[in-house]
Amino acid sequence: MEEANKKVAVFRREHFNAAHRIFNPAWDDVKNEEVFGKCANPHYHGHNYELVVKVTGVPDPETGYVMDMKVLSRITKEEVLERFDHRNLNLDTVYFKELNPTAEHIAMVIYGLLRAKIDPALELQVRLYETERNYVEYPA
């Protein structure tokens, strides 16, 4: 059958709400304010993050699935939402002690967490919306 080797992308959308602050600890307050503006606010601000996880592969001939979406949902909840939802990304997670929690870096961290739990034969990409108008994708 010609469909046998065709790749299909499947997507799962999740969301989490978190506080963060963008700043470089090597810089003084003036320089941080100059570069990051109000995002550097020492008292934090926050977002409703929307996460779209894309998994690409050939549908399994027996199930017709690229990946069971229930499993993808469970992995995303366990690996990402339980760590990030209703948290302060700078203070409450281990990932952004040294790394600035920009949308770029958050997407890269999420990719790493999910990549470790998803079949290496499947391609993975994450898209992260910080606001409705700003989003990033990794890998690019």
Partner: protein, 136 residues
């Protein structure tokens, strides 16, 4: 009577935490929203005014001027702020979306021009949760 709505948005941190209660009680009532290190939202704010269109302009009110009023008196105070710590009109109040919408009404009402009326404010905390207030 015509209704005109202007949509604005702001991003802020907050927590739901009653300082008069124990941490256990706060977690029991507010769950993960009580996280002491805050969490945050993209808030969407819908401000609706009402009145009769001006015969000379056809406008109820200049939507850009309405935007300017909302930005000056509300967004400037809330955007990229910590609602519990940095907002004067929320001091001493619980930072629920309900209290926030009432506070926003009180900030805006004095600055709405005399020939139009503030009709209602709708505030989305997430795409799935919103509150409305009509000044009652």
């Amino acid at each position: 009577m015509v209704y005109l709505t202007r949509v604005e948005h702001f991003n802020a941190a907050h927590k739901l935490y009653n300082p008069g209660w124990s941490r256990e009680r706060n977690e029991e009532v507010f769950g993960k929203c009580a996280n002491e290190n805050w969490h945050g939202h993209n808030y969407e704010l819908y401000v609706t005014i009402k009145g009769e269109p001006d015969p000379d302009t056809g406008f109820l009110f200049d939507a850009n001027r309405l935007s300017g009023i909302i930005r000056e008196h509300v967004i400037e105070k809330l955007d990229h702020k910590n609602l519990n710590i940095e907002v004067d009109f929320l001091q001493g109040k619980m930072c629920s979306t309900e209290n926030l919408v009432v506070g926003i009404w009180q900030q805006l009402a004095p600055h709405i021009p005399s020939r139009v009326w503030l009709h209602g404010i709708k505030l989305y905390e997430t795409p799935r949760i919103f509150v409305e207030y009509f000044g009652e």
